[in-house]
């Protein structure tokens, strides 16, 4: 261990991680894409925050901003804070932020294959972090790499240390990524679609492993996923994103019971069922919003079944519904009471 690793007690009033009113835009040839428009969420030790939302709504970009790995330019952060134990990562000197990022916040990337280097063996890639960051000897680092690969259930791990990423199946590569992200015993784990390539039995094992780490290391986890089954299984709280905003935030049970935003409701209704073949699946009609030319008022109004004139003219503010629950809908209360929908 290096000396930077100080035990970080939760300072009164500070969350482990807090994103505050974050904005991110991309400057492209065709104009400016406003991808993140005032996102706020927080994470405490030992808990799981699930981030749900439409494909392209900005879940990964928010995570990349936290990790400090956005290419700037084309990306720009015109506004916002990312607080780790109360300290703004965006204002920190680069070397200090790199240490926090490397040791205390770690991320499982959505694209396992492109996050792995094709020209180095898998064992080398996992052990590299251990050698450079923790100063382990080559032999120790390799031993630990095998342990980590075993932990994520890669069969015959030792025999496969010298194999290259292309020789692994999609799900194995994803598990290699998970092993790498766990190497440093992080305080915050951002898991971006960590189990899409895994069958449900391995997925259950990995989720159990992550739950153990949350308990044993008091690790906080941001779980970005489209799998509403996994969310129901493991999340404490849920933040739902649409067009670069958090449109609903709630405790997991409350949200599944009664969504307070029409987008969330549409999402829950689109889930295919295991116990019923069903006929045509329900969908949310219309196209996702064009981030270069966002609609007026509520960004969801062109697709919302309950749209009223006020939704076209005024952008709804995030409404506090009590118990940490918020919804950015003019008719949040009606949604919640079941009067609408």
């Amino acid at each position: 261990m290096t000396d930077i690793h100080v035990e970080t007690e939760r300072v009164q009033g500070h969350h482990l991680l807090e994103v505050k009113d974050l904005f991110v835009e991309f400057h492209t040839r065709d104009g400016v894409a406003r991808v993140i428009n005032g996102v706020s969420y927080h994470l405490d030790p030992g808990e799981t925050l699930a981030v749900l939302g439409e494909s392209g709504s900005g879940k990964s970009v928010t995570a990349q901003a936290i990790m400090g790995i956005l290419d700037m330019p084309p990306a720009k952060i015109p506004k916002g804070q990312i607080l780790y134990n109360g300290e703004d990562l965006l204002k920190m000197p680069e070397d200090k932020r790199r240490d926090i990022r490397g040791q205390q916040i770690s991320m499982i990337f959505q694209d396992a294959l492109s996050a792995l280097n094709p020209v180095f063996s898998v064992g080398w890639q996992i052990s590299e972090t251990l050698r450079t960051r923790m100063g382990m000897s080559k032999a120790d680092a390799m031993k630990r790499a095998v342990e980590l690969m075993d932990q994520v259930k890669i069969p015959a791990a030792k025999a496969r240390l010298k194999d290259y990423p292309h020789q692994f199946s999609g799900g194995m590569r994803q598990r290699v990524m998970i092993a790498m992200s766990l190497a440093m015993d992080p305080k915050v784990l951002i898991a971006d679609e960590p189990t899409t390539a895994l069958d449900v039995t391995v997925q259950a094992q990995i989720m159990d492993l992550l739950a153990d780490l949350r308990r044993d290391l008091n690790m906080g986890m941001i779980l970005i996923t489209h799998d509403l089954g996994v969310v129901a299984d493991v999340a404490d709280r849920i933040a739902v994103m649409y067009a670069g905003r958090i449109i609903e935030h709630a405790d997991v049970r409350a949200l599944y019971k009664q969504p307070a935003h029409p987008y969330t409701k549409g999402l829950l209704e689109s889930i295919p069922r295991l116990d019923d073949k069903g006929t045509v699946l329900k969908t949310i009609k219309g196209l996702p919003p064009n981030l270069m030319r966002l609609p007026t008022g509520c960004k969801y109004h062109p697709r919302c079944p309950y749209t009223q004139p006020i939704c076209v003219s005024d952008e709804p503010r995030s409404l506090n519904l009590g118990n940490g629950r918020t919804s950015a809908c003019h008719f949040a209360k009606e949604m919640l009471s079941g009067e609408l929908g």
Partner: protein, 336 residues
């Protein structure tokens, strides 16, 4: 589907072993990864065959074999009676047009230097007979819209899209040539459930319209149930159970199928404590060194001596008319 259409694709005992080599200068073969190890099935016109199974059991390798991206170690696959591994010249060109694939990895399967318009339009360059030059841009825009992407994004590059958006670019590209068979390897895993539902509905309506056949590989068993007419369950390079959607989900007889179905997370947080998951003990065996007899026996709660000695064949068992590769095949209801 009540009655199956004509059988268009037959896969017969297909095998793919990857050699394991050691040594840097003189590569010595020290073993083989038995990725696909004797897989047989048929695909009918207008049918969707779902393939599910353990991560690493050979699903993508099977898909690549059918696309002729890998060459088989043994076995045959015939499309309309012709061996696809022996095709060349115009026959091969026709195969490349009629069988398309949506790749598992939406990140690396798209060329980063090409615009989305070029990626989706590329099949028209190779097969100009499908769309005359002047018509292509319009066709590409139609395809973009079909998969729920904005036609205005035609000049963007892959890295400017999110994971799910890239997956839809792959789907649009596979649809461009109106093929007969599409092999979909995890086509919806990166999509939110609403867009996933749109894509699944789209695949189904195209199927009805054009009598397409799909091989649909996915880990999401609810989606597979929804879209499939028949489902094959794979474990370590082999199909262990195959049947209609109803047979596999409502009357599974193989212990692996039962374990798999029981582990599907339920989208209801209240169900957390009450679910009965069959937890598989032990580690997934290495495909380089699969267990003797039944490959699932090292993790099976029913395993007996016979299972180590004798390989169970994929045949009809007394309990159920659909084929199951278990000596002790037995009905068990796991889907609530």
């Amino acid at each position: 589907m009540a009655n199956l259409g004509e059988s268009i694709l037959q896969v017969d005992n297909l095998v793919k072993h990857f050699p394991i080599t050691r040594g840097i200068l003189f590569k010595k073969k020290v073993g083989a990864v038995k990725a696909v190890d004797g897989v047989s099935f048929e695909l009918h016109k207008g049918e969707t065959l779902g393939i599910v199974g353990e991560s690493g059991c050979g699903k993508s390798t099977l898909a690549k074999l059918l696309m002729r991206l890998e060459h088989p170690t043994a076995g045959r696959a015939t499309l309309h009676g012709k061996d696809i591994f022996k095709m060349s010249g115009s026959e091969l060109r026709r195969l490349r047009r009629n069988v398309q694939m949506v790749m598992q990895d939406p990140y690396t399967s798209l060329n980063p230097r090409m615009t989305v318009g070029d990626i989706i339009g590329e099949p028209f360059e190779i097969h100009p007979e499908v769309a005359p030059r002047g018509d292509r841009e319009r066709k590409v825009q139609e395809l973009l819209e079909l998969v729920g992407l904005s036609p205005e994004h035609i000049n963007r590059y892959p890295h400017q899209f999110s994971g799910g958006q890239r997956q839809r670019i792959g789907i649009a590209r596979a649809l461009a040539l109106k093929p007969e068979v599409i092999v979909c390897d995890e086509p919806v895993s990166a999509l939110d459930v609403s867009i996933q539902a749109q894509v699944v509905n789209l695949l189904e309506s195209l199927q009805n319209e054009l009598q397409l056949s799909y091989i649909f590989i996915a880990h999401d068993l609810s989606v597979v149930r929804h879209i499939s007419d028949r489902v094959g369950v794979m474990y370590l390079g082999k199909i262990v159970e195959i049947g209609t959607e109803d047979e596999i989900y409502n009357r599974p007889t193989h212990p692996y199928t039962q374990a798999l179905l029981s582990a599907v997370p339920v989208p209801d947080p209240m169900a957390r404590e009450h679910r009965e998951i069959i937890r598989l003990e032990g580690d997934v065996p290495s495909p380089a060194d699969p267990p003797s007899g039944c490959r699932f026996r090292t993790r099976c709660w029913k395993a007996q001596e016979k299972c180590a000695l004798e390989e169970p064949l994929l045949i009809r068992r007394a309990v159920e008319p659909h084929p199951s590769a278990c000596h002790f095949a037995e009905l068990r209801h796991v889907v609530a």
